[in-house]
């Protein structure tokens, strides 16, 4: 009972925070609202007993990526006045498009009959625990796990190379 209400509250807060991300004029505030959204999403993960992902979400996403965004934002020294203004026409088109998209998705999803296999514990499962998840990760998916390290290396090298300041040419 409490869990249901808690889930619903968390969901509402998530939506509110996401909306603030999109709407707010100050870019720094957008970033902070996004961090808040991530917190709430992690909360939702915990409600589903996906503990590992909740922590990973917080540490990696909110902790690292958002901090990166914030760094770049500070570096570029942007504030409310230099924020580009979107024309009203764009607002209208985007609203209509987004609204239509939502309606269409709901229409597509409304007739879905979810089939659960017999023996499924429709209740909260233990699948999100670190132990179980680690079991699957290091047996079935160990190769993608290793390859992702290569991905990281290339991303790092790429980022450093791209953002390096060019040497001044001496004429």
């Amino acid at each position: 009972m409490i869990a249901t209400i808690l889930t619903q509250i968390l969901g509402a807060l998530t939506v509110a925070a996401a909306l603030m991300v999109v709407i707010s004029k100050h870019p720094v505030r957008s970033v902070l609202y996004l961090v808040v959204t991530f917190f709430f999403i992690s909360g939702l993960y915990i409600m589903m007993n996906a503990q590992f992902l909740a922590i990973v979400n917080l540490i990696v996403y909110a902790g690292a990526i958002m901090v990166l965004f914030l760094f770049v934002l500070m570096l570029l020294n942007l504030n409310k006045e230099s924020e580009p203004k979107t024309p009203t026409l764009s607002w209208i088109i985007a609203s209509i498009a987004a609204g239509t998209l939502f309606v269409v998705f709901i229409a597509a999803l409304k007739d879905i009959v979810l089939v659960s296999q017999p023996g499924d514990n429709v209740a909260l499962s233990n699948i999100g625990l670190v132990k179980n998840l680690g079991n699957t990760l290091f047996t079935k998916y160990v190769v993608p796990f290793e390859i992702s390290s290569i991905l990281f290396i290339s991303a790092m090298v790429g980022a450093i190379l791209l953002a390096k300041r060019e040497k001044q040419m001496i004429d």
Binding site: L101, V104, F105, A108
Partner: protein, 638 residues
């Protein structure tokens, strides 16, 4: 050798000759080129002589079946019977003589080899026409001679003075022939529909055995065939191309427009005799058309001043006589006149060619006169030809004309009277031509007179040969009076062709024949004397164009026939063309097409605005695309 082999060689030789001359002729010396062309046709003549000896009853040479359906079938085959052999004899025989003549006449021409190519190809097409065993092969040959006629009439198309006129004359001949060809095509369709086959033998057999074809169908078929015949054989209404066709070199006029191509129409009707016998109305129409053409053309020839034009109208008039014979159902008599006409008309044309050659291409008889002193051989042969065509007693023309007149008299004496008018006019204008050209004082340019000469041997030998045939050609089909045993040899010879044995024709009886012969003889001798008196003794000269008045002017202006056609047919079509160009093309098509391309351009411009480079609009479009995708699958159902 078997008949099939002979036929193949007969057809292959002129085709090969034409191809060799066409492809290699530029590099061959002129003598070789000409000799090749002439030799080929002479060989063909020998082959036809062999066939003449060999073949007694119709032989059909099948090659292969072109098309075989349930309703009808079409084959490629050739029919060798007495009619086709006889026509082939005329074609190859006179063809050889004309090739020989051309070797001398076209000696100074640059397109020498081209001329012989076209001539050989023409002989090939004409042989195809007469040897064909069904209407389709005949049609191939029909079209082939049309094309060769076009090529040969417009032979000097690049001549600076007259090149355009030559081309226009060739075009006129072709277009008028085409109208006739439409008739032939319709006739072929109707024949396929009615009989399911186009073979002469099969249709003749079907007709013999009381066919189930309606009279209207026979009428339609024969009328269409006659339309085709009027196109090729220059009858009213499709005859005005023949005088214009005199723009071609003289050997062309001799071969095509006197002896062979124009007789293709007569051949067609003779070949389809069984069809025409079932349609008496068509035969009546042919009779009247023939008489009308004969009289009209003879009238037009009375005051023409170009040698070749006089002969051209004379050809039209004589063809009218042949059509009259066909209209009476006397098919073999028509073929008899074809034969004698081929002899003396070719002779006359070649003779005029000799005159033109000697007078350095002068063709106006008002600038000639007294030529008998310079060109004796030409003079005597031309005289024989003139006498033959005028029906001078005992020459070939006399007998053939008399046969026609005899049959006509027993049918309807009134029409006989009309046709005698035409015969009289024929004699008048031919003798006028003869006397003004060869007698009296010379009225032309002195320089030309000094250089005028008799033609070389290769031009005069054909003249002499043809003169002999013109004199003795009557022996082929003498009436029963003389040599009773061998009388009507040609009629008997042609009796074995398909359909002919159905036709019973009795010649008029002895007294009528004698009487008619007497009338005709008196007429021709009388005109000869009058003409001699008028043109030689009195020296009545041909007037210049401006001085003509009254009936003379109408005759000289060819009864204003060309002008009438121009007003009736040419101008409306031209008007239509101008209207189409101005209205339909400018407004309709151009604005339609231009409008369409403009539309495409504007649509493209419109679409171009999508690519504005702004990322947010791209993203918006992506989302919209996503929506559409999902909606599509939603609607699809599964």
């Amino acid at each position: 050798m078997r008949v099939e082999g002979l036929v193949f060689i007969l057809l292959a030789l002129p085709l090969l000759g034409g191809l060799i001359n066409g492809m290699l002729g530029k590099h061959l010396p002129k003598n070789i080129s000409g000799a090749l062309g002439t030799g080929v046709i002479f060989t063909c003549f020998l082959i036809v002589l062999t066939l003449f000896n060999k073949v007694n009853s119709p032989v059909q040479v099948d090659v292969f079946t072109l098309l075989k359906l349930d309703q009808f079938s079409i084959q490629i085959n050739f029919l060798i019977d007495h009619l086709s052999i006889w026509m082939a004899l005329i074609i190859t025989g006179i063809g050889t003589l004309i090739h020989l003549f051309s070797m001398g006449y076209m000696k100074d021409d640059e397109g020498y080899y081209k001329f012989f190519t076209y001539l050989n190809l023409f002989i090939f097409a004409m042989l195809l026409l007469v040897l064909g065993g069904n209407y389709l092969i005949l049609f191939f040959g029909w079209e082939g001679v049309g094309i060769c006629s076009f090529l040969l009439i417009g032979f000097h198309y690049s001549d600076p003075k007259k090149g355009i006129a030559n081309s226009l004359a060739a075009r006129k001949a072709f277009v008028m022939n085409r109208i006739g060809d439409a008739g032939l095509i319709f006739a072929i369709f109707m024949l396929l529909n009615a009989f399911g086959t186009l073979n002469f033998l099969e249709i003749a057999q079907t007709v013999e055995q009381m066919p189930t074809v309606s009279t209207v169908m026979f009428l339609g078929i024969t009328l269409c065939l006659f339309l085709a015949a009027t196109g090729k054989s220059a009858q009213i209404p499709l005859f005005t191309w023949l005088p214009d066709a005199m723009a071609g070199p003289t050997p062309v006029s001799a071969l095509i427009h006197a002896a062979t191509m124009v007789t293709a129409g007569i051949y067609l009707v003779a070949r389809s005799n069984f069809l025409f016998e079932m349609a008496p109305l068509t035969k009546d129409i042919m009779l009247y058309v023939g008489v009308a053409t004969s009289i009209a053309a003879a009238f037009m020839a009375l005051r023409q001043n170009d040698i070749k034009k006089v002969l051209a109208y004379s050809t039209v008039s004589q063809l009218g006589l042949m059509v009259v014979a066909l209209g009476l159902g006397a098919y073999s008599v028509a073929i008899f006149h074809v034969t004698t006409h081929a002899f003396f008309k070719a002779l006359l044309f070649l003779g005029s060619g000799s005159v033109i050659h000697g007078m350095h291409h002068e063709q106006d008889i008002r600038k000639m006169g007294g030529l008998r002193k310079i060109m004796p051989i030409t003079h005597w042969t031309f005289l024989i030809g003139t006498l033959a065509i005028s029906g001078f007693p005992l020459l070939s023309g006399f007998f053939s004309k008399d046969e026609i007149l005899g049959h006509l008299f027993s049918y309807n004496p009134l029409i006989y009277g009309l046709l005698m008018v035409s015969v009289a006019m024929t004699a008048i204008y031919m003798f006028r031509l003869y006397f003004l050209t060869f007698h009296g004082d010379y009225r032309g340019d002195k320089h030309t007179w000094d250089h005028a000469h008799e033609s070389p041997l290769n031009m005069t030998i054909p003249l002499m040969i043809l003169a002999v045939f013109s004199i003795f050609g009557g022996l082929l089909n003498l009436p029963g009076l003389f040599f009773h045993d061998s009388a009507h040899w040609l009629t008997g010879y042609l009796h074995s062709i398909p359909g002919m044995h159905l036709i019973e024709h009795a010649s008029p009886d002895m007294n009528t024949t004698l009487g008619l012969m007497g009338i005709a003889s008196l007429l021709s001798i009388g005109v000869l004397l009058w003409a001699f008196q008028n043109y030689v003794r009195k020296g009545s000269l041909a007037k210049g164009d401006e001085a003509l008045k009254g009936w003379e002017k109408v005759s000289n202006r060819k009864l204003y026939w060309d002008e009438m056609y121009h007003m009736l047919f040419v101008k409306p079509v031209e008007w239509l063309g101008v209207q189409t160009q101005n209205i339909v093309e400018e407004r309709g098509i151009k604005s339609g097409i231009d409008g369409f391309t403009n539309l495409i351009g504007r649509a493209g411009n419109l679409l171009r605005r999508l690519q504005n480079g702004s990322v947010s609009s791209y993203l918006s479009w992506m989302v919209i695309g996503m929506i559409l995708f999902v909606v599509f699958y939603l609607i699809k159902g599964n």
